[in-house]
Symmetry: C2
Subunit: 388 residues, 2 copies
């Protein structure tokens, strides 16, 4: 096991109707002048935004609103939010939405306390401070409600890049599973895939003897695999929504990833896809992960066999562990297909002839991607081809 630090100080407020306590928690965590950040009309139409505003008003907390966040959130609105925050002396950002809204809120929180361009932090600059961010989560997927990360697409070149820092951990996050019951099945499935990917990026590691995190990873995957079909079959099933929502947080606050090298190459390859085509992140991951697995499985057949046996219930082929490993990947592909995810480029609307562009935009050059297997540009190209 590697040495590590683990710090997850977010106060989680989980359960039915708990968005009505938002004002109480904003006050507890020091907010007096809040920017409420959200996406499209659904939080308005559902009445959620009104309930949140009422809870702020009840605590005499001032607020300004900024809606319009798109999936794969863009730099333009971030710049606008930073401008508002500086002008209005905002001291607290409250994100009401899914991962895109939260990531946009985090970017605004960094930029509001910085004189330069916020994009500096998405191209490697160390994050030292940010305004406090809190979230009211409406989509179980990105795990941004408990994570240090934010992913933004810059409109200049459609570059999709990530920033990370402890200052980006939300101070509190309200998780009410009821809010996710109205999602279309496609979005629920994309979210489940994203969570599974967050776990698998951590699971496939070269670090030896990390049984505790292996087991936690497997537990989260088993839960998502069991609960997602129930949520898709009956969108109002609170219990499956609740299990999925908490699993999504656990999948990405790093309790499943400490003490081990992590990979993240599938995420990076997907970022190029959703940057170019503006497809849902989860859908892109359902295409990229099986391709990556097929390409790298020989690096550690026993680990892929463990994944097949413990997560997918495959029987171990002791004569030929590779059979078991391959069966696990097949079962995963079948699962993705069964919940309505694409597993090939064509189903996603991606094109084989764009592969050189995807590889070029990534800009790997002589560097490598990932840690389980260090992928060259040539490897990346081959993995994209396996996904066609």
């Amino acid at each position: 096991m590697n040495n590590f630090n683990f710090y997850s100080p977010t106060f989680f407020v989980f359960g039915k109707e708990r968005e009505n306590e938002a004002g109480k928690y904003v006050k507890r965590f020091g907010g007096t002048n809040v920017l409420i950040h959200f996406g499209g009309g659904s939080v308005v139409k559902s009445g959620l935004l009104d309930r949140v505003k009422a809870s702020l008003t009840a605590e005499n907390i001032r607020f300004t609103e900024l809606g319009g966040v798109q999936p794969n959130p863009r730099s333009g609105l971030v710049y606008e939010g930073i401008g508002i925050s500086k002008r209005e002396k905002i001291d607290f950002i409250l994100a009401v939405g899914g991962g895109s809204v939260i990531d946009s809120a985090k970017a605004i929180a960094i930029g509001a306390l910085y004189d330069g361009d916020f994009w500096d932090f998405y191209t490697g600059k160390n994050i030292e401070k940010a305004l406090p961010v809190a979230t009211i989560l409406t989509i179980s997927a990105a795990g941004s409600e408990g994570s240090t990360g934010s992913v933004i697409t810059h409109e200049n070149g459609m570059l999709k890049r990530a920033a990370n820092g402890d200052a980006l951990r939300p101070v509190f996050s309200v998780l009410n599973p009821e809010l996710t019951c109205t999602l279309p099945n496609y979005q629920t499935a994309c979210g489940a895939t994203d969570m599974m990917a967050h776990v698998m990026e951590r699971y496939f590691t070269n670090t030896k003897d990390v049984e505790i995190t292996d087991r936690l990873c497997e537990g989260v995957l088993l839960t998502i695999i069991k609960e997602t079909p129930k949520a898709l079959a009956d969108s109002s099933d609170y219990e499956s929504r609740a299990n999925i929502m908490w699993a999504g947080m656990v999948a990405h606050n790093d309790i499943c990833g400490v003490g081990r090298d992590q990979d993240w190459s599938s995420h990076n390859m997907e970022h190029e896809l959703s940057g170019l085509y503006d497809v849902a992140h989860g859908a892109g991951l359902a295409v990229m992960f099986p391709a990556w697995m097929k390409y790298v499985m020989h690096h550690d057949i026993q680990r892929f066999a463990q994944f097949a046996v413990r997560v997918w219930g495959c029987e171990m082929d002791f004569q030929n562990p590779e059979n078991t490993a391959r069966q696990g990947i097949e079962k995963m592909e079948q699962f993705f297909a069964s919940i309505g995810m694409p597993v090939r480029f064509s189903e996603l609307g991606a094109k084989a002839e764009d592969i050189p562009t995807l590889v070029k935009t990534m800009g790997l050059g002589k560097n490598t991607l990932g840690s389980f297997v260090k992928l060259t540009e040539e490897d990346v190209r081959k993995i994209y081809e396996l996904a066609v």
Copy 2:
């Protein structure tokens, strides 16, 4: 799933030699005048205390020392620590030791900011504030390094009682698995049993549809069951020590317990045992848990069968799930015995004729104990008898 809050803001500093960073973290978390609290001579003899003091001195942090904490920590030393803290204007408590030392440090931290008797908080008073506590953990067991709890035995009547509150969460905890490599096997096994008990008190619940926490519980148990025999066979095996140490934190910071009713009757029955006989808490739990399980299993045979299949690898007897449930309990008893734990009163040095005293000291009266099955005084007496 029940509504819940989850808040675990402790900064964990995990790995080899990381106690040398104690001074840096005390400074980061605002300590300027520290009470170092510890137990017997082992932290002195091993040089650990000197390394910790050197790291404080390197940051120009003042400190006072108070050693002498016993297993099942007593009120007398707590009163002494509170006196020192008030007199010396201590602003930070640093516990160097296992659960007993940490629990004693937490009690001092509450009392130092309170004009009345600290025992008030162990008999029901709400904890509003405490001095910041940090820990350098030397025994994997109690989980106090990441928990809200503290258990103290009052010398007036040998009453063993618990206090809980967010203010008792350590601000940081250093977990260096190397520090546990010198423990006698008996203590390592007691620690493993304590961790398993922390998980099982959460696992046996009447709350339906808590798959995510079920799976996390099972993952922690599977890890402890796999890694403990390795640590006992080769006490210097760092990797098993590391897995056990992190499992002990995860077992008790409540990530495995949120959203579900918890039981805690076995812990309460054990507290009377270790209060009266001063036996190791883990050893008492190894005796009480199987007895409790045998007594309550019919309340939910399917849950006990799930425990047997998923945790102990039993084959499900679909014709007769009770067989499977019973087999799981037997396998657990066999496991405890295999790691050198007692599983009966006689092995513990407890006496059947003391059962009326144990029941009386608990003082249940007309109240009930636990939540999975609400136990009356009569039930408690019968469970103690099953443990004879």
